[in-house]
């Protein structure tokens, strides 16, 4: 109870202090209020995760009541395009899950022939990363954890190191495309970056981070891998695992795969199609999942309501919507422009310094906070730099990688990790300690962020 009260007091004292400090350094009243309220939302997610939506509701209402922002602008800044994209993707993922696609993927992992520990580590790492690229990190991690637990149970080995590997590579993989993480689509929408931009600039860097991480994990977990190989020799081939589950190859699964494949195709070609059809940037990117979801709901009209009510995470999406509106208020009041001007004044607009600052701050920040909260806060500041004629292209990539890779550092840093560790605790009653994670997470987080840092500041390709 004492801890709860302490957190509650901090939740009000820190934003109050921030507001007063902002006033004292030259921010006007609406700017200081918008900073205070946005910081309540940030701290609310940190201290009271289950109440985050309540804080977002109350904060946005206060901003409207105090006329810091008007209703039209709340709607404008709420980034409905991003929310609708996520709704469409969640409906599609729900359909794929129901059709058995993910269970089929799990069965493929269980059927790896002539399994060795090295093969297993590489397979789960690569599949985790690529699955996170194609669907979202939370969906991907559930299936990976299921496959890892089944295999580790069969061979009677500790699943924890392999679950850690899967979570780390899932977070890394989520930076590879716009689909992997909500911050990907948020950055794409706000920076007018296309899927192609992600494939050209983010994907290769993600592959590099993945390769380095796998090599590092092979060294860090060499003893575990050796024990696993001994168990494979002792228990023989994974014949029982090969037969363990099956997914009926029904027509429905093939149709669902076709719909998902077509959606991915349209998403990957969206930029070309938009140019060809003379559409606004990212129109097809944002509507492709909606068109597919709409068609799915006509096809499966009896279950359409279930897809919307059960598969769409309204709690999270409503939080995002109001958070984006609150972050937009920082832009609307000019708070972030003021801050951007101050930063440029101090640094002289040195691009390397700005990239380093955004990358490392977002890396450290997303180790502690939900990365969407962090990215939503940084976006208006980066737009503020743009207004001061700073080249911001590299900053978007710094923000993307910082937001995804930082989640690997601590135990609380990413949603995928929270989901995976939740299953592990429920299934095996194993609770990973902060430091057991931190030892591996910090090494992987620092090395991968360091690689990205080097690439972003030294390769002209990213400027």
């Amino acid at each position: 109870m004492k801890r709860f009260i302490f957190k509650f007091i901090l939740l009000f004292l820190i934003p109050l202090a921030l507001g007063l400090f902002s006033r004292s350094v030259g921010f006007n009243y609406p700017q200081a209020l918008s900073i205070s309220i946005f910081s309540v939302s940030i701290l609310g997610t940190l201290f009271f995760w289950d109440f985050r939506l309540s804080f977002a509701f109350l904060g946005t209402s206060i901003l409207l009541l105090t006329q810091v922002i008007d209703l039209n602008n709340v709607i404008k800044f709420a980034s409905l395009e991003v929310i609708l994209f996520l709704v469409g993707m969640m409906v599609l993922i729900g359909l794929l899950k129901e059709a058995g696609l993910f269970a089929w993927l799990v069965s493929l992992i269980l059927r790896i022939r002539n399994l060795t520990s090295q093969k297993f580590l590489i397979a789960i790492s690569v599949i985790s990363a690529f699955l996170a690229c194609a669907v979202d990190e939370v969906t991907s991690i559930i299936f990976m954890v299921a496959a890892i637990l089944e295999i580790c149970d069969y061979f009677e080995v500790d699943p924890v190191p392999f679950i850690i590997c899967s979570v780390l590579t899932t977070n890394i993989g989520s930076s590879g495309t716009v689909l992997g993480n909500p911050i990907g689509i948020l950055i794409a929408a706000k920076a007018h970056l296309s899927f192609e931009d992600f494939i050209i600039k983010a994907f290769p860097l993600m592959l590099l981070c993945l390769a380095v991480t796998i090599s590092l994990l092979r060294i860090l977990y060499r003893k575990t891998l050796k024990q696993f190989d001994e168990k494979i020799r002792e228990l023989g081939a994974n014949e029982m695992l090969i037969r363990l589950i099956s997914v009926p190859p029904e027509r429905e699964l093939r149709v669902c795969l076709g719909i998902f494949g077509a959606t991915l195709l349209f998403i990957s070609l969206h930029h070309r199609l938009e140019l060809f059809l003379g559409l606004e940037t990212n129109t097809i990117l944002l509507i492709a999942p909606l068109i597919s979801a709409g068609l799915v709901m006509i096809w499966k009209w009896r279950k359409a309501r279930d897809y919307i009510e059960k598969d769409v995470e309204w709690w999270t999406l409503l939080f995002f919507l109001l958070l984006f509106a609150q972050a937009g208020t920082l832009k609307y009041t000019g708070a972030t422009d003021f801050l951007a001007k101050k930063i440029i004044g101090i640094t002289g607009g040195d691009p390397r310094f700005l990239v380093s600052t955004i990358l490392w701050l977002s890396t450290i920040g997303s180790g502690i906070l939900d990365n969407v909260v962090l990215v939503a806060a940084f976006i208006p500041i980066i737009h503020g730099f743009e207004a001061l004629n700073v080249n911001i292209q590299t900053l978007w990539w710094a923000l993307l990688f910082g937001g995804c890779l930082g989640g690997n550092i601590t135990l609380i840093g990413s949603t995928a990790k929270i989901v995976a560790l939740g299953i592990l605790e429920k299934e095996r009653r194993i609770r990973i300690t902060f430091f057991r994670w931190f030892r591996i997470g910090l090494s992987v987080g620092l090395i991968t962020t360091g690689l990205v840092w080097f690439a972003l500041i030294s390769l002209p390709f990213y400027r």
Binding site: K97, A99, F143, A146, L149, D153, I245, V247, E427
Partner: protein
Amino acid sequence: MKVNEIMTKEITSLSPEADAKEALDLLLKIKISGLPVIDDKNKLVGMLTEKEILSAILPSYVEKVGKFVYEENPKVVKQKISALQNMKVKDLMRKNVVTVDEDTTLCEAARIMLTQKARRLPVLNKAQDVIGIVARGDVVKALFREAVAE
């Protein structure tokens, strides 16, 4: 008619500290799919049904991975069944239990069973002590009996 007129007053219950394996044996012996868990102060603390047992022995992710067929029994099921030996009823029971008070009408009990998907409802008195249990079958029978009598 009220639930206190049709409820089973002599209820078999489980203690939260009882061994899970013994509780399962009792469920199988008396051929009932679930029992209330009542502490030594006669307060309801949970419900243990076959569903909770199945949830405890199957992997928790089976509901999340979508459509598939188990062609073999996974090794973990055997391990989890043996692990039941070391577990208490309180580790397995469902803590959120829908209850009714003794003056609840039959239709209200039926409405609660339907909307809350409950097969049986523990009946509590004003002091929140468990005084009986009413099953779905009891409510259906009583409703029909009452209608015919009228």
